[in-house]
Point group: C2
Chain length 293, copies 2
Amino acid sequence: MGGNQAEYDIAIIGTGPAGISAAINARIRNKSFILFGNADLSAKVERSHIISNYPALPEISGSELNRRFAAHLEQMDIEITSERITGVYNIGKYFMLLAGQKEYKADAVILATGAQTVNEIKGERELLGKGVSYCATCDGNFYKGKTIAVISDNKESEEEVDFLAELAEKVYFCPSYKTDYSRENVIRLPGFVKSVNGERHADGITLSDGSIIAVDGVFFLKQTVSADVLLDGLEMNNGSVAVNRDMSTSVKGCFACGDCTGRPYQIAKAVGEGNVALHSAVTYLAENKGKKE
Amino acid sequence: MGGNQAEYDIAIIGTGPAGISAAINARIRNKSFILFGNADLSAKVERSHIISNYPALPEISGSELNRRFAAHLEQMDIEITSERITGVYNIGKYFMLLAGQKEYKADAVILATGAQTVNEIKGERELLGKGVSYCATCDGNFYKGKTIAVISDNKESEEEVDFLAELAEKVYFCPSYKTDYSRENVIRLPGFVKSVNGERHADGITLSDGSIIAVDGVFFLKQTVSADVLLDGLEMNNGSVAVNRDMSTSVKGCFACGDCTGRPYQIAKAVGEGNVALHSAVTYLAENKGKKE
């Protein structure tokens, strides 16, 4: 931990409608903030053919709505930091956010990480940090010259597959999307991975056809990980972040909004919750900031 | 109660952003519904010079946003019923809504009545139904040939002042807005009304200068009345409707959204809550409708 930590009032994680709405209001309320997410905004919105229930914009395509969201951000000089946050640590007086090797400090955090689209598989959660990793940058170096499995749900992460393949001797690759990715030491697996095996440390995976492959580690490269994986101790409710009416969570100073708080998965709900989360974070900062450091 | 009652799955009260959002989703979910409110939509939105935090429509004027809301409703063939709902009665199996002498039945109700902008004065709530009324059409006939006070916060209700002045012998009129309204038997009061007086029935009002005027009844013609005045037994929280995360209220089958549920008073919050309230009402109907009648 050195002097290279950037410090903010608020860190917003996610650039779907909820994160965008939070960021717009953070700018209006004149807070220092950083917005982490995909510069292309929500892929889920982008893929929507026609959205008919975002009031005042009838019959808009998802890509056009994303274009307008981007224009709104640009008009307010809001930049997106395209780093994947791999962990949020509640240090008590503030939050430390890790993006690979980089560190960011924020007094309040707004989670707008979206619905977890990919279910966890058996052994994944149990062996997380024990041979199972969500972050190539963070943990890749542990597997130099070893054999690993990489399970990915998005083409964007293929850069990370490259990175891992440069380190590991052998990579078993199991993408859940169509791709013609290939590389000398990367072996494509048929079907899907049913479980991660191991007692105190991951030692293999079981495929959908029942076959078992021995590995030293397993990487899940997901667009979205469950929020309680990002932030330890976050209370969940049926797989969603448990929130109060003001979008506060069980962790003081941490707020959540959008699909990660549960159904209905709706753009209008997300922008509304992002707005409320930011207002609650501002109230929280006013009450707590002076007392913090 | 005759055969002239119109019946709906859902009655939505209010045509601000929350009610509009609920109605749009009611249409999409193919429910039968009626939307009560002002055909000119929200006056509060209309008066907003520039709105900068409705995501995807940066720097939009309130009147332009209302124009777009209206276009969205029109594009979906959603009509506004411009009747003022004066009471909602929970009959157990359904709700009965009164608009003056007219009755409407609905299996679920969504309250989107906005923030109560005018504070109640001393005696108002205590004597409601005992000489204090919010509805000229409902109660005007009790005051034929009598002396009444009329307190109004909106020019639109001057038609009702006319109606009351035709019935009553003398009307003391106290508008909280600028108006050149005049009529032979209508006496304009200076200042404002501090309290309604009376033990078991209203018998006078006290003005801001301390003078007391004897009256037989007092009419408050408000744009918005507190939701628990509309629907008896509705649990409130600091003057707002108490709601759960799914926008359900303490009254089964009744949902609330928008400014009437409390701060922040934001358009994005309102459209989000309207969306959620409608989805929750649809779930409620699916679980309860068959069992109702």
